[in-house]
Amino acid sequence: MSANGGHDATICGWAVDPAAGREGAVEAVVRGGVLERLTWLSGSAADGLGPTGRLILPGLVDMHAHFREPGNEDAETVATGLAAAARGGFTAVALMPNTTPALDDPSVLARVRASAAATGSPVRVLAYGAVTAGRKGETLSAMGELADAGVVGFSDDGASVGSATLMRNALAYAGAFGLPIVDHPEDATQTAGAEASEGYVATVLGLRGWPVAAEAGSVARSIAILADVVRDVPGARLHLTHLSTAASIAHVRAAKAAGLPVTCDVTPHHLAFTDEWVAGSRRWAWEALDAEGRARDPWADGALAAPPFDTSLRVNPPLRPAEDAAACRAALRDGTADAIATDHAPHTAVDKHVEFGWAANGISGIETALSTVLAAVAAGEVPLMRAVALLTSGPAAVLGPRAGLRPGLRLGEPADLVVVDADASWAVSAASLRSKGKNTPLLGRAVPGAVRLVLAGGRVAHAEG
């Protein structure tokens, strides 16, 4: 700590800066919290520094997290959520409005901001407003007031905006402010009681099938509405969150090719876990494909290592077969996906330590997101530069200039960066997680990517060792 209260550090590592389009060995000098010097090293000075060792990344942006406050502080609070975010390498988070009460007017936003300010955390807290009043899917929320108060978009996440007419109106109305509608695509008429992705694994386990069409159909519908709306309201924007199927991704790819203002994200669990985990497998999604790119059979090849029906795997949308997870990673590589978003969804034991079909949906994932992505990078599934972009500049671009996020290693500005040892693993355990939500299938597992230091706005958000 320097005299003026800011952080001082000299860090050598492999810098990856998507904003500058550059990666390489560096020596970074932070003085008084300001990134004072960034020396790109070569020759013998760069010895021992590489993309599989110590990484220096811009602070990560999570555009989809649930901190449960107000209303469900037993599952998470803004304080514990921010500690978890920092530990995961995130220096900015955008919170979903499905709180109790829902964040559908500025008073709830003020409450969340007050809680965030009281923590003293340097992690930036952004928030979405609900699309509909009370998230009931009936009438529009106080959208204009929420926009004035500074929300970064609107979402009824947890459910889709079911009414096509309301979706049309929401896209048009929010489009006037240039704010996105962040939709959770799900045709609820197809998913009543659904438990696991429809197909082989769900059938064998006797779980109610969750059809691909429930997501892909909703995606196609919203894109069709967007195509109509943008003719009148050029500022209208649609973001589709936590896409999980090849079919949904194909719709977005085609819509982007047609020039529509649509973006999407994929979660770490949908790119790296598969439905066979519900049966007890724990191999990464890329290890679950055969040579022809088809999902392998965990009942036939001895992959079932854990007991089945682990409720930490009950999530909406459900974990999908390995082919869909592969399509998610292809979307990350080819630019169809704009961001990796955690959908951090902490739950209490009361809501999770119950029968599979009755367990709450969601995975506590903000602390393991970077590790999961680094596992995919190490396997050659996503290039490092692209992965970092999807966790930094990608979501910042989706959220747009009103969010004011400028992730990058910028000289002369307050340092906003993550130092992570890609080659060091850490043990995920209930005790090691800062989140109140221990609902992750990675419990008990060692994962790559130990976060050592997180600076947010020049201040220490998280430090280890």
Partner: protein, 337 residues
Amino acid sequence: MSAGDRPEGAIPTPAPVRWPHRHLLDVDALTRPEIDLVMRTADEMHDVLARPIPKVPALRGLGVTILFYEASTRTRVSFEVAAKNLSADVVNIAAASSSVSKGESLVDTVRTVEALGADMIVMRHGVSGAPYLAAEVFGGSVLNGGDGWHAHPSQALLDLYTMRSRLPGGSLEGRKVVILGDVLHSRVARSNVWTLTAMGADLWLCGPTTLLRGFDAWAARGAAGRRFTVTSDVGAALRDADVVMALRIQKERMASGLLPSLREYAARYGLTSERLRAARPGALVMHPGPLNEGVEIAADVAVDPRSVITDQVANGVAVRMALLYLMAGARRTEAGA
């Protein structure tokens, strides 16, 4: 029970194969030798049942709690009779009418049952996978008495036992077995897929396409020799069948839009004596119960000499005695190890 007070052998130990399973939650991992062991042990139990007093002390001092979250007559009573024949102390809990309806969690109920002295729980639950949660928190053994659409191990094993005892040669190898009806919602069908394919049967699943959802995906894997056929062509399915098992059709399938009407189902898929003519002479007719006569099975077929439906009920007790006995043995082995 400690390893020291092993009950004296009223039943000869049938086993060159060890029964390694503390719990019986599914049949997917049972090997053919283990299934054979259950069959041989059930034979022994069958002999016990033929005695004037069909009671042995094998489970004396063991507490068996029958914890049923779904209404059931035949399975619950069958387990109760089986456990009592083995001299276990049996407690029956119809959970729907206990404090579960006041919001008591499964985890808490199981811990309470354990604290009250249960060594084994036989559990029936409407949610797939629920017995795994019980097994996670219970110090004793859990025997799945049927969970959701997922598994019904004792039913599949008693079905197999019944087929073996009635088929000439006593083998399922190459025998055409047809399961006809509401396969989608059936834990009996799912468990029979594992046991019958393990025993080499030529298994066919037949019903309206809406009630076969997902099973094509399963059949397409067919890995490790676990092959079976899925069809909605009832004629092709029944042709030269050795065994036909009809499954119950529930009225709620109409409400959820899976079927037009019971009338149409009976006309197209009902097991009638006319349809049964396509099967081999003497083909076995089975049904896990309860029956809707005139819907999935014609009244005359249910009582036809070829029907072994009452055998299934009687064999259920012997097979469940075998399972309780083997699992108690696994407990002792574990305690002694």
